[in-house]
């Protein structure tokens, strides 16, 4: 029964959080708790944002091998970082107000995405894949522009940008956390309210319309939520491309249900387990630095290939 499975997941997530907060802690407890607490909050937000956005996106696109991050957001993000370093220099970049930078990035990414969605003509899947392809191509374009800028930057300053290439949970601003939390929680709330509509959307365009939904409008709203979630998460910690894919694949494997209420909760819990548990494992047990995200990318990518081999069509 899904409910029992959710309890199991909840328990595991709780244990992961506990381990993260307490394992290997030395010294002043209040310091440790605050320090780790901040990081935990960021991890939880990212977990929620990425998992939810991927589940939503896969339902809307009717395909379980796609993830919203392929739409070039991470490339745009990297371009913005490189552009800022190029324009302001290393020092200028470091002294940017984090809130201003965050707001700028979220707004820019959201606007870019909405422009992309404007190309949707309501012609169904063909349209959606075309939109994705457009996003992907822009991703390639942004990457090439980024590498161009990188060559014009002083090698020392390049290190700053290199750091931005992979998601990092190590240095996050508290104020940003608050803003992100508001955004993510708002999106979660909206998505939760739409959970029954999503169940119908999952049946496909034709079925959804015949059951009375305004497919194009729901698609747009859903994608807007996805964008906001991805933009927030990227602006907070950086690009996390295949993490969502890994989480959604695990969710569908674990829960043999199509009800979005359960799927959304389960996916968030699984995301927490993977991210928090994984981070604990890497930092405390294995002693690696910040390469968790790369490993997740790799695993997620493998999942992707495996899914294609299994002809996974929603």
């Amino acid at each position: 029964m899904p409910d029992r499975k959710l309890l199991v997941l909840g328990l595991c997530a709780f244990l992961a959080v506990l381990a993260f907060m307490t394992l290997g802690a030395r010294g002043n407890w209040s310091f440790v708790l605050t320090f780790r607490g901040t990081k935990l909050a960021a991890l939880l937000l990212v977990a929620a944002a990425v998992s939810l956005s991927t589940i939503l996106f896969q339902t809307l696109s009717g395909n379980r091998i796609l993830t919203p991050s392929i739409m070039g957001f991470d490339a745009l993000y990297l371009l913005v970082q490189t552009g800022l370093v190029f324009a302001l220099g290393e020092f200028g970049y470091a002294t940017l107000l984090p809130e201003a930078k965050f707001a700028f990035e979220v707004v820019l990414l959201t606007v870019a995405a909405l422009a992309l969605f404007g190309s949707l003509l309501g012609n169904g899947l063909q349209d959606l894949f075309r939109m994705l392809l457009v996003g992907v191509i822009f991703g390639v374009l942004f990457r090439s522009l980024t590498s161009l800028l990188q060559r014009l930057i002083d090698p020392n300053e390049f290190a700053v940008v290199q750091g931005a290439m992979f998601a990092s949970f190590n240095s996050i601003d508290t104020e940003l956390l608050l803003a992100s939390a508001v955004l993510v929680l708002a999106c979660c709330g909206l998505a939760w309210r739409k959970r029954h509509i999503l169940d119908v959307m999952a049946l496909g365009r034709d079925q959804a319309i015949s059951l009375g939904l305004d497919h194009r409008r729901e698609l747009f709203h859903g994608l807007a939520l996805v964008t906001l979630l991805v933009a927030t998460s990227t602006a907070l910690v950086g690009p996390v491309a295949f993490f969502g894919l890994l989480v959604s694949a695990l969710t569908y494997e674990f829960l043999k249900t199509h009800r979005h209420g359960n799927l959304m909760i389960a996916s968030m819990l699984i995301a927490v387990i993977v991210l928090v548990g994984g981070q604990t494992l890497f930092e405390r047990v294995l002693g690696f630095g910040g390469s968790l995200s790369i490993v997740i990318e790799f695993l997620g990518g493998l999942v992707f290939l495996f899914l294609i081999f299994r002809k996974a069509r929603a």
Binding site: L125, I137, V140, Q162, A241, I294, E297, I308
Partner: protein, 329 residues
């Protein structure tokens, strides 16, 4: 094998003439432009100038032409084998696999000869593209756009693996060189592999009819007596060779294999025997144009040809997506 000479229809002749004219102009420009503060005539008269000319300008021009021509041909072959208009070495993981192969061999055997590096890179590209083609078989044929999407993600996964290995071994800078195509480092003695690439592309012409028939699908090909598997392997081999030659010498030039064949196909169709020469000519010309443009836009600084072509290629790709939605292949 004798090549029969046919009378070319006027539209093709026109295309040939136009592109060749453009090419001539570009070659001249390419030989004349450079950071050295001298005109072409002066350059050729001084001893140092002549040396610069022979060691840098001529090789650079040749490299751009050869890379462009062979990558465009590789694109045509891939599109026929995958039966999809949007497939090319950069949207099928071929380039990324070639880079991975290079990285692995550079790490494992840093002092190996360039031929060994080439061989490993080529095998990696071959294997990686074969895997991609196998993946493509599993995708629903009613959604042709899923193929390049899958290819790009697949390439992204390979790139993630490669980046991870490079990151952990401090070789990230190397990776940048292979993944971003540009011609500024071309010198005599450092680019000759591209001639090999050009030869391979030329050899592809011998198989032109077979590739076209393969592009009709496996069943049609078998029905016409073709050894489909053999053609597939030869095609893959050609693509892998060309990609590895290009990646190791100048870096990956995305969109060349996509844009050029599609433009030529729009006007002249998909009969390889007719279109391969046009594709090669157009590919070489466009890449040279990108290189020249890259040298002029912010003179005397250079923008990599790969970037210039990437920007233009993006525009053309978008046009392909929106102007001909049903003809994705």
């Amino acid at each position: 094998m004798r090549l029969t000479v046919r009378r070319l229809p006027s539209s093709e002749l026109l295309w040939f003439a136009a592109v060749t004219g453009l090419l001539a102009g570009l070659v001249l420009a390419s030989l004349a432009i450079g950071a050295a503060d001298a005109g072409l005539a002066d350059l050729l008269q001084s001893k140092d100038g002549l040396e610069l000319f022979l060691i840098s300008r001529v090789p650079r021009t040749c490299a751009a032409l050869l890379a462009g021509a062979s990558l465009a041909v590789a694109g045509v072959i891939m599109q026929m084998l995958a039966r999809n208009r949007f497939v090319e070495p950069a949207t099928a993981g071929t380039g990324e696999c070639a880079a991975l192969g290079l990285l692995v061999v550079t790490m494992a055997m840093p002092s190996s000869t360039i031929f060994l590096k080439m061989a490993v890179s080529c095998c990696a590209a071959f294997g990686g593209t074969a895997v991609f083609l196998a993946l493509v078989q599993k995708l629903p044929p009613t959604q042709p756009l899923l193929v390049p999407l899958t290819g790009i993600i697949y390439g992204g996964v390979i790139a993630a693996i490669t980046t991870f290995i490079a990151y952990e071994n401090d070789l990230l800078q190397y990776l940048g060189v292979w993944m971003n195509g540009e011609f500024s480092g071309i010198l005599q003695g450092r680019y000759e592999l591209l001639w090999a690439s050009g030869l391979v592309a030329l050899a592809a012409y011998l198989y032109a009819d077979r590739f076209t028939i393969a592009g009709l699908g496996r069943d049609a090909a078998v029905g016409l007596g073709l050894d489909y598997r053999h053609v597939l392997i030869v095609g893959l081999g050609i693509v892998a060779l060309i990609t590895s030659f290009t990646v190791i010498t100048v870096g990956m030039l995305p969109f060349v294999g996509l844009v050029v064949p599609n433009i030529v196909s729009h006007f002249h169709g998909d009969n390889a025997r007719r279109t391969l020469p046009l594709v090669a000519l157009t590919g070489g010309t466009l890449v040279l144009a990108s290189d020249v443009a890259g040298r002029l836009l912010r003179y005397p600084y250079e923008i990599p040809a790969g970037t210039v072509f990437g920007v233009v290629g993006t525009g053309v790709f978008l046009w392909l997506l929106f102007a001909r939605p049903a003809h994705a292949r």
